[in-house]
Structure formats: structure tokens, C-alpha cells
């Protein structure tokens, strides 16, 4: 009996994996703002909230100045991953990389703020309204 059950589980391992991952993805969407398009839960084409439609903004803070900086191309992949799943470690790592981007200020950056935004739409007019998904201020040592 035990052997038969185990055999059935192994035989249907792909199905078991699909269900476990898809349920985990739903949990992550609800708890960590994972984009419904990402993570293997089959939420693609159910919402406009795809990772590539999210926007990452970064601000370098120096004493008395808050300057928005453009995210360099070399950090595009890290920014896209942060947009898809904006966890604290991911945003903090991105912020520390962004702290190295040169700014006109002479003082070294005190902190970097990284924000992830998405669009919400009015169902009648399709008028877009930006909504913040997550924001994190990372102090720079």
C-alpha cells in the first residue's frame, strides 16, 4: 500500500510540483507583492501588472538634497527582478549598487531610496493612476 502510494506520487511528480509551486506563487503575490505574471502560478494575462510594466525609481540622499537618478543599464536586470518581487534584500542590494552612481553632489550619499511603482486603471475610462508597490530607504555606510 505504502509502495503503491509512493509510486503514484513519483509517477505524478510533475503534477505535484505544478500544484505546490502555483500555490506558493499565490501566497507570494499576496505577501511579498510578487507580480502575478511571475513565479509560475499561471497568472499571466490576468492583469496588466507585469514585471516589465512596473517602474523602479531611485533617489540618492545627500545632506539637504534628494536627487532622482537614472538606473544604469548594467543594473537593468537587478531592477527588473526587484520590480517583479520587491523584497527588502533585493531592494537593499539594488540601492547599494545605485549608491555608486555618480551625482553632481560632492558629499557622499547618506542613503538611497528605491521605489517600485505600478499602474492601476479605471475600468470605465482606462485612466491610469500610479500606485506605489514598495519603497525602501537603505543607509549607505
Amino acid at each position: 500500500m505504502y509502495k503503491t502510494g509512493l509510486y503514484a506520487c513519483v509517477r505524478c511528480l510533475p503534477v505535484v510540483l505544478l500544484v505546490v509551486l502555483a500555490l506558493s506563487q499565490i501566497y507570494l503575490v499576496k505577501t511579498t507583492s510578487l507580480s502575478p505574471w511571475a513565479g509560475g502560478g499561471f497568472g499571466m494575462f490576468s492583469t496588466p501588472d507585469a514585471p516589465r510594466s512596473r517602474v523602479v525609481r531611485a533617489y540618492v540622499l545627500t545632506p539637504g538634497v534628494r536627487r532622482e537618478v537614472e538606473i544604469p543599464g548594467s543594473l537593468a536586470d537587478a531592477a527588473l527582478r526587484a520590480a517583479a518581487m520587491p523584497t527588502d534584500p533585493r531592494l537593499r542590494a539594488l540601492a547599494l549598487e545605485i549608491a555608486r552612481v555618480p551625482t553632481p553632489e560632492t558629499a557622499p550619499p547618506r542613503a538611497v531610496v528605491v521605489e517600485v511603482w505600478r499602474m492601476e486603471y479605471d475600468p470605465e475610462t482606462l485612466a491610469p493612476s500610479p500606485r506605489i508597490v514598495k519603497s525602501l530607504e537603505a543607509p549607505v555606510e
Binding site: P36, A38, G39, S46, L126, S129
Partner: protein, 301 residues
């Protein structure tokens, strides 16, 4: 009938007979490898190895059913999901599950791997569509009210040809709506909000209900026990889904994968004649999806 016409007809008949003569297992594995060659997956660490294994499987007939080849593909497609996490599309996951199903079928049941593969194919397809419907019906607030299709038809450039042809939009009208939806005018005043053309709004509502109906149908009929007569409808629904959906949203790699998986289980609960008919349908749909990338709605503009 001229000699050339007779030869052509004979060649066509032999082609059909060859497809009918293939077993379901082979009819699923070959299109999977073709899919991997036409739409290679992963970055430089994964892609060349995946391509080499897929090419080997097609070039050396003895390797098509070699467990080691499919184990390699399972490891590579799984590695791609892990390395790119959380960004891979849904079909990257499905490709990994499918390669794993083929490996398990070849390893666990060397005498008759068809049944294990068929069971996995049916359940995987049913569950993919069930989760997709769950998202659209219950978890996403943007789908059933038409927002998703309204926005996507304008914002996603892959939909431009279809949106302009079916929605009756001029190039200027489309561009203006696209800029608005992408938020170029944010912040905007009430006067800046353009009117969504009624035909476009009706189209997005039609697509919403069509999608939920066809996806729900595929989920239900694939998850029904194969012994029930009604479950025979499943293959026709999957083929209808693929030939309609991928004409509009050209994600051909996903379409080919679903059709390959469909072919693996097409024989379940069917007589010889109907089984052959359904197999030919899958092959025809697979070929049709190839043309969708080149004969797009944009060509009608």
C-alpha cells in the same frame, strides 16, 4: 489526373499515414524537441546545451526515447527556471514539468511509458488552465471587468495589428490611446481623458468572456476522468484555444508545447479512427501556429 498530381496525392497520403502510424509517445516527443529548437530557452549557460540535446533527439532516432537525453533536458529547463527566477514565463515552468514527465515515463515504465506520460499530460494541461482561470475569475481584480484586455490591447505592441483591425482604430487613434494608457499624460485633468471607442470596449469584453469560457472548458474537460464520454471534447477545445489564442497573442512556444502535450494523451478513451483524426488535428494546429508569426493582423493594415 496527371502524373504529377497523382504523385503529389500519393505523397500526401503517405504523409498522413506516417503521422497516423506514429505512436502517441513519439508524436508528443518530436514536437517538444521542435519547440525547443524553434524557441530556444535560457541564457548562454543553458541554451546551447538544450539546443544540442534537442537536435540530437531529432537527428538520431535511437536517442528520441533515451532517458538520459530527457534527464538532461529536465535538468537544463529546471536550471533555467532557477537561474532566472522569478522572471521566467509560465511556459518555462511547464516545459520543465513536461521534460520531467517524459523522463519519469521512460524510467519508471520502460515497457509502456505511454500511460504515465498520457496521465501527466492530461493533468498538467487541466491544472494549468484551472490555475489560469482561478487567477482571471477570483484572484485578479482586473480581468472580469475588461480592464486587462482594454489595457493590453493598447499597451502591448504585440496586439497592435489585431487591436487596430478588430477595434477599427486609425494609426493616430491607436497611438493617442496607447500614450494615454501608458501614463504619458500623468498627471492629467478630466478633459485629457479620451473616450474609449465603443467597438474597442465591446471587443475587450468579448475577449474577456471568450477567454474565460474556452480556458474554463479546457480545464474542466481535461480534468474529467477519461472514461467519461464527455471528456472526449477536451482535445477539440484545446485545439480551438490554440488556433484562436495564438493568432492574436503570438506566444507560439507555449502553443506548441500545449499541442505536443495534447498529442501525448489524445488516444485515451478513443477508438482507432477517432484517435487518428484527433492526432491529425494536433499536427495541423502545430503547423498553423508556425504561420501565425509571419501572417499577422498587421499585414491587413
Amino acid at each position: 489526373m496527371s502524373d504529377a498530381a497523382a504523385r503529389t496525392k500519393g505523397g500526401f497520403r503517405r504523409g498522413l499515414a506516417a503521422i497516423k502510424g506514429m505512436d502517441a509517445f513519439e508524436l508528443a516527443l518530436r514536437p517538444t524537441l521542435v519547440d525547443l529548437l524553434l524557441r530556444p530557452v535560457g541564457g548562454w549557460t543553458v541554451r546551447p546545451f538544450t539546443l544540442a540535446l534537442a537536435a540530437l533527439g531529432l537527428l538520431a532516432p535511437g536517442l528520441l526515447r533515451a532517458p538520459v537525453l530527457w534527464l538532461g533536458l529536465t535538468v537544463l529547463t529546471g536550471a533555467r527556471v532557477v537561474l532566472d527566477w522569478p522572471l521566467p514565463d509560465n511556459h518555462a515552468y511547464l516545459l520543465f514539468y513536461w521534460c520531467l514527465a517524459v523522463t519519469l515515463s521512460l524510467t519508471l515504465t520502460p515497457g509502456g511509458p505511454g500511460k504515465t506520460l498520457s496521465l501527466n499530460a492530461r493533468l498538467l494541461i487541466g491544472l494549468v488552465f484551472a490555475f489560469s482561470v482561478l487567477w482571471k475569475l477570483a484572484l485578479s481584480p482586473d480581468f472580469m471587468n475588461g480592464t486587462f484586455f482594454g489595457v493590453t490591447m493598447l499597451a502591448d505592441p504585440r496586439f497592435e495589428g489585431f487591436t487596430r483591425v478588430a477595434g477599427g482604430l486609425s494609426a493616430e487613434g491607436y497611438d493617442a490611446l496607447r500614450e494615454f494608457v501608458l501614463g504619458a499624460a500623468v498627471p492629467y485633468g478630466a478633459a485629457d481623458v479620451p473616450e474609449i471607442p465603443p467597438r474597442l470596449a465591446a471587443l475587450s469584453h468579448f475577449l474577456t468572456y471568450w477567454t474565460i469560457t474556452i480556458e474554463g472548458g479546457v480545464a474542466v474537460f481535461f480534468l474529467l476522468p477519461a472514461r467519461l464520454a464527455a471528456s472526449k471534447l477536451r482535445d477539440y477545445l484545446l485545439v480551438i484555444f490554440c488556433v484562436t489564442t495564438y493568432a492574436v497573442a503570438n506566444v507560439d512556444g507555449f502553443g506548441w508545447l500545449l499541442l505536443a502535450m495534447g498529442a501525448a494523451q489524445a488516444g485515451e478513451g478513443r477508438g482507432e479512427k477517432e484517435k487518428n483524426r484527433v492526432r491529425l488535428l494536433y499536427v495541423a494546429a502545430f503547423l498553423l501556429v508556425i504561420f501565425y508569426r509571419y501572417y499577422t493582423f498587421s499585414r491587413l493594415l
